[in-house]
Assembly symmetry: C2
Homo-oligomer: 214 residues x 2
């Protein structure tokens, strides 16, 4: 039913969803592809093309029914169920993510936080007791964990990712500034490279200063 | 000299740089567009096209000189100088970023951390004393801050971004799950939407489960 979906579409779906959620909560009943595109910096034709991948949702000339489209995206994005997560690495970013409560904490639940540091193991973070990394794989398997969030130092990131991949986890969200080796039939991997985004900013700031000093 | 550079190229430049840094540190002297492409999941022609935007760097048949290309990218990405940053919002993600020490802390320096909570103002985070948000704009202007990292709750993100934009800051790195309103002649804005990346993962996990339950 669902056609092959590009990485770009995968990245746009959450943006559509967040926007439709706001519109729905504001009581907007219908939105045209042109309006929705304008809100997201996309063309109307791009929006229609994206939704056509999932079967359309609109009637020519009537716009999209906001609530129905929001519900459909919730289904497509898998937000109608809870996803069980663990955070691996109880440094600052790990601790921050362990307390992540967006979407009312309904869709994403952090079930455990792991570290290797004996001084950190056993301490409390947002109501969770930090567990030893030795227990990680068995915990993931016994508790049907869906997503492992990796926030360990870059030097050990691939080693830890391999260990995680030996479990039954479905996906890894990687925050280490390293490209993880993908494994055949291994977990789906997405990375957030904070330092890359900073470098993209300093590139733009440098380029801007060449032409137009502020 | 530099041609118009697309958003996609802007995002690839840091990835090239990180990879060349590793190659250089490993003592590799030369790399072909094909090898570099393979390491990054790009075609050789894509790599050549990207570097041609900045004047080439390679000789047909000889590959790219790794050290020279690394140096050139360091220049292009603005990493030969230090960038002064402030973090706005001393929650967990803000505190994590205040301690960010990648690249030896040479290129990116957090100079101050701001919050509105009287219980947090005055406390120490990674050697910085949390300052009152009331002092933010004057601190940015007096200390020639380049980048403001925004880690406030989504409800106030645009309000705080407007305040930041009234300063002389060059760029905002936004972590709030909101699209910030761009301002004409305002700071350059890049966003990291952690929740969007999570939704992109759950989309892929859901789609995978339809065809191939694990």
């Amino acid at each position: 039913m669902v056609k092959r979906v590009s990485d770009a579409v995968k990245r746009r779906l959450p943006r559509y969803y967040r926007r439709l959620l706001s519109l729905d909560e504001a009581g907007t009943e219908s939105v045209s592809s042109k309006e929705l595109g304008a809100l997201l910096g996309l063309t109307a034709s791009q929006v229609r093309q994206d939704f056509n991948l999932f079967g359309g949702f609109g009637h020519q000339g009537y716009g999209y029914p906001v609530n129905k489209l929001r519900e459909a995206l919730e289904e497509i994005l898998g937000l109608k169920r809870a996803w069980k997560m663990v955070v691996v690495g109880a440094g600052n970013i790990g601790r921050a993510l362990a307390g992540y409560g967006y979407l009312g904490g309904d869709a994403f639940r952090v079930e455990a936080l792991f570290d290797v540091d004996p001084a950190v193991i056993g301490t409390q973070v947002h109501g969770l007791t930090v567990k030893s990394a030795d227990e990680m794989v068995s915990f993931i398997n016994e508790n049907n964990i869906d997503i492992a969030i990796l926030t360990v130092p870059q030097e050990v990131a691939n080693k830890v990712a391999h260990l995680i991949s030996s479990s039954a986890v479905g996906a890894i969200l990687n925050f280490a500034p390293v490209k993880l080796d993908a494994q055949e039939n291994g977990p789906i991997i997405e990375s957030i490279h904070i330092i890359d985004t900073l470098m993209s900013l300093t590139y733009q700031l440098s380029a801007k200063n060449i032409t137009k000093p502020r």
